[in-house]
């Protein structure tokens, strides 16, 4: 699971009104090189919840992102590289996702988060 996926996942269980962003606990991380595509990154920024992304990036050890993204940052190669690394190259292999409201824990095994809910939860 990459941070891009983490940024899209939410807990939509019954009774949970605010299941986003999910908290992240990491036990194993793997970095796999991915194709650097500045255009993809630029188009991805408005789709992301930036606050949630920064928090998750801090958990996997990439810090120093600005609180908001301005257009001139896209010219900054160093920022784009760091953003690319955090968003697409770092894979959370083992860890836990935690619902901010109910505290429900979703395990991540081999990079696949298990978001299945029990029958009484959905």
């Amino acid at each position: 699971m990459r941070l891009l996926t983490h940024n899209m996942l939410a807990n939509n269980a019954k009774g949970v009104t605010k299941g986003f962003p999910l908290g992240l606990e990491v036990t194993a991380v793997e970095t796999k090189e991915a194709e650097f595509n500045p255009d993809f990154l630029k188009k991805m920024v408005p789709k992301l919840e930036w606050g949630a992304f920064c928090e998750a990036a801090a958990v996997i050890g990439v810090t120093g992102f600005p609180t908001a993204v301005t257009p001139d940052l896209f010219e900054d190669e160093a920022f784009l590289k760091k953003f690319h690394n955090a968003l697409l190259e770092v894979h959370v292999e083992e860890g836990v996702l935690i619902c901010p409201e109910s505290g429900r824990r979703f395990a991540i095994n081999k990079g696949i988060p298990n978001m299945l809910l029990n029958e009484d939860e959905c």
């Binding site: 807990n11 990154l41 789709k47």
Partner: protein
């Protein structure tokens, strides 16, 4: 002889059946009343409308140049080469779209049921390799002779020798050269050196005084007599296809022997990834789920969903990915998108995981896998741009009941995920077409168009859906209601007409018929008041109407039902008389 001929001609019944199927399958996307299906369809329409430039071109778009035999060792053919591709019935438009995107075509491709005829401007090894990477084609033939007209008589068939066909013998030797080049480069079948061993498969469609076996026999006769190729039915190197389609006679050599071309393309991309990891030719076989999606149909879903034209950074989700075919097909072809695949079952996700590992690195890095339940998708509203999926049909996976509960819930969660900031497109493949249509009517989705595909004889539908933004706000509560604990199978409500009569009925203690819901109550009222027969009739009419919507009973069942209802009515009348008596006893 006469009787023989009579026996050989196809029965009119079969013929009409075939015709019927075709018209049924083709109405959906030639219907001018339907909304446009986006850029793919527009592109195909444009191409079909384009004028034919040269007089050499026949009605099928096949081209014949004077310099027919221009083959050298490097396979650099400068003249036009004709091909004939087969695919699933209903996705021919997709083959034409893919061809026009990837190749320089000579003239306009044409198509009949499940077949596409096209000509390429010259041929080199690169073009041949690109041909082998076609995603939407099941089998590819290089055409030996194309534009020959044939009448229904046997005598006319006997004339069809290679030298008499357009292009002459040179076209056959050139087709053989191309087949050899294909085999040496891509593989599939033997290398076929020297005089090739061949067999002929004949196919015939229409009303003729000869059978498909005759077509094969005559073609084989001609090849043996004029080209000296060696016939061998079991141990053959070339498979020659001879096809009579109404008044057209076409022959071609099958290029991809054994595997379908889309499968060759998928395996080729896997072999590529093996080379990158220094494990050449050791790419493991694909892991298939119980009902795997065929790769050409997956490609069709992806293209119909608009992934090909999606802007950079779009998020494509397959919420019921199975072994992950959609991602496997789409990620190498359209790397501008990010793909999120998910399923409920651990077993199929393992397969999807292994299949992703087999892809080339740049494609595999575009896919993430999550385990989830489709009825409660754990996705932030608006995070998804396009949903592309193959729903369970309720035949092999699930049954009609599970599908009936699954579809509305799945559509509701899709609608949530496709909230406004997204591109808002969904393409669903289903065999349970009626169930999907019903679920779509009850959901926030609007159907933009349907493409019918014949998949192994089963008529499945590719439905293109959009969430209607106007209704999104008002529908959301309804959407949530589907997600509630109540299944969508709601029992028939008491119609408003009969309700007042039930309300009017005086509650006089433990009435004899009060426990029975509607009819007895009206009956009591009926017997007391005398005139309210209409309300009861209305209730019954409504009830039968609802039943007929669900399943139409047979004549026998209807008779039985009528008899049963008459019996029940008599019984109720007796009961109501008794109740009336009791009332009258109570009253004084």
């Amino acid at each position: 002889m006469k009787s023989l001929q009579f026996r050989r001609s196809p029965s009119p019944r079969t013929f009409s059946k075939v015709k019927g199927t075709r018209s049924y399958l083709f109405t959906a996307w030639t219907n001018p009343g339907k909304p446009s299906m986006g850029p793919v369809w527009a592109c195909v329409e444009e191409m079909v409308a384009a004028p034919v430039e040269s007089s050499e071109v026949d009605h099928r778009g096949f081209r014949y140049s004077e310099s027919a035999h221009e083959v050298n060792d490097a396979l650099d053919i400068s003249c036009d080469v004709n091909f004939w591709a087969t695919t699933h019935l209903g996705i021919e438009y997709l083959v034409i779209w893919e061809l026009s995107k990837k190749f320089e075509l000579a003239g306009t491709p044409t198509h009949t049921e499940g077949k596409v005829f096209f000509a390429l401007k010259g041929l080199s090894f690169e073009t041949l390799r690109a041909l082998s990477r076609l995603r939407s084609v099941e089998s590819l033939h290089v055409v030996c002779s194309g534009n020959c007209k044939i009448s229904t008589s046997v005598l006319d068939l006997e004339r069809m020798k290679p030298s008499a066909l357009p292009g002459g013998l040179a076209a056959w030797t050139r087709a053989l050269e191309i087949t050899r080049a294909w085999r040496s480069m891509i593989g599939g079948g033997n290398a076929c050196t020297g005089l090739p061993k061949f067999r002929v498969t004949g196919k015939r469609c229409g009303e003729h005084h000869f059978s498909s076996l005759d077509v094969a026999r005559v073609t084989a006769d001609g090849i043996v007599g004029e080209l000296n190729w060696v016939p061998n039915l079991t141990d053959f190197e070339l498979e020659v296809k001879a096809q009579v389609h109404h008044s057209d006679f076409t022959t071609g050599i099958l290029l991809n022997h054994g595997l379908p071309l889309w499968s060759v393309a998928l395996e080729a991309s896997r072999a590529l990834s093996g080379e990158e990891d220094d494990e050449a030719h050791s790419a493991p076989q694909r892991d298939l789920s119980y009902t795997p999606l065929k790769a050409d149909i997956a490609y069709g879903l992806v293209v119909t969903g608009g992934v090909a034209n999606a802007p950079c950074g779009s998020v494509v989700v397959d919420p019921m990915c199975g072994c992950g075919t959609v991602g496997e097909v789409a990620a190498p072809e359209f790397p501008q998108c990010f793909y999120l695949m998910g399923d409920t079952s651990k077993n199929v996700l393992k397969k999807a995981y292994r299949n992703r590992a087999g892809l080339p690195a740049h494609a595999a890095r575009r896919i993430d896998i999550v385990r989830w339940d489709v009825t409660c998708l754990p996705l932030r509203p608006g995070a998804v741009d396009i949903i592309v999926t193959d729903l369970p049909f309720g035949k092999k996976v699930g049954n009609s009941m599970t599908v009936e509960t699954l579809y509305p819930k799945a559509l509701a969660s899709f609608a949530k995920a496709l909230s406004p900031p997204s591109m808002n497109q969904a393409v669903l493949l289903t065999g349970a077409r009626k169930m999907l249509a019903m679920s779509v009517k009850r959901s926030a989705f609007v159907e933009m168009g349907t493409n019918n595909v014949s998949m192994g004889g089963m008529h499945v539908a590719m439905s293109r859906l959009k969430v209607s933004h106007d209704a999104a706000g008002t529908m959301s509560s309804e959407v949530l209601s589907w997600l509630g604990p109540q299944p969508p199978k709601v029992p028939p409500q008491i119609p408003p007409k009969s309700r007042p009569s039930a309300a009017e009925q005086p509650q006089t203690g433990p009435d004899a018929s009060a426990s029975l819901a509607v009819s007895p109550a009206t009956n009591v009222h009926d017997a007391a008041g005398g005139g309210e027969v209409g309300s009861e009739g209305g209730a019954r009419r409504h009830k039968t109407k609802w039943n007929s919507m669900k399943k139409k009973p047979s004549k026998k069942q209807a008779k039985q039902q009528a008899r049963w209802e008459a019996k029940m009515a008599a019984h109720r009348a007796q009961e109501s008389v008794a109740a009336d008596l009791m009332l009258s006893q109570d009253a004084p």
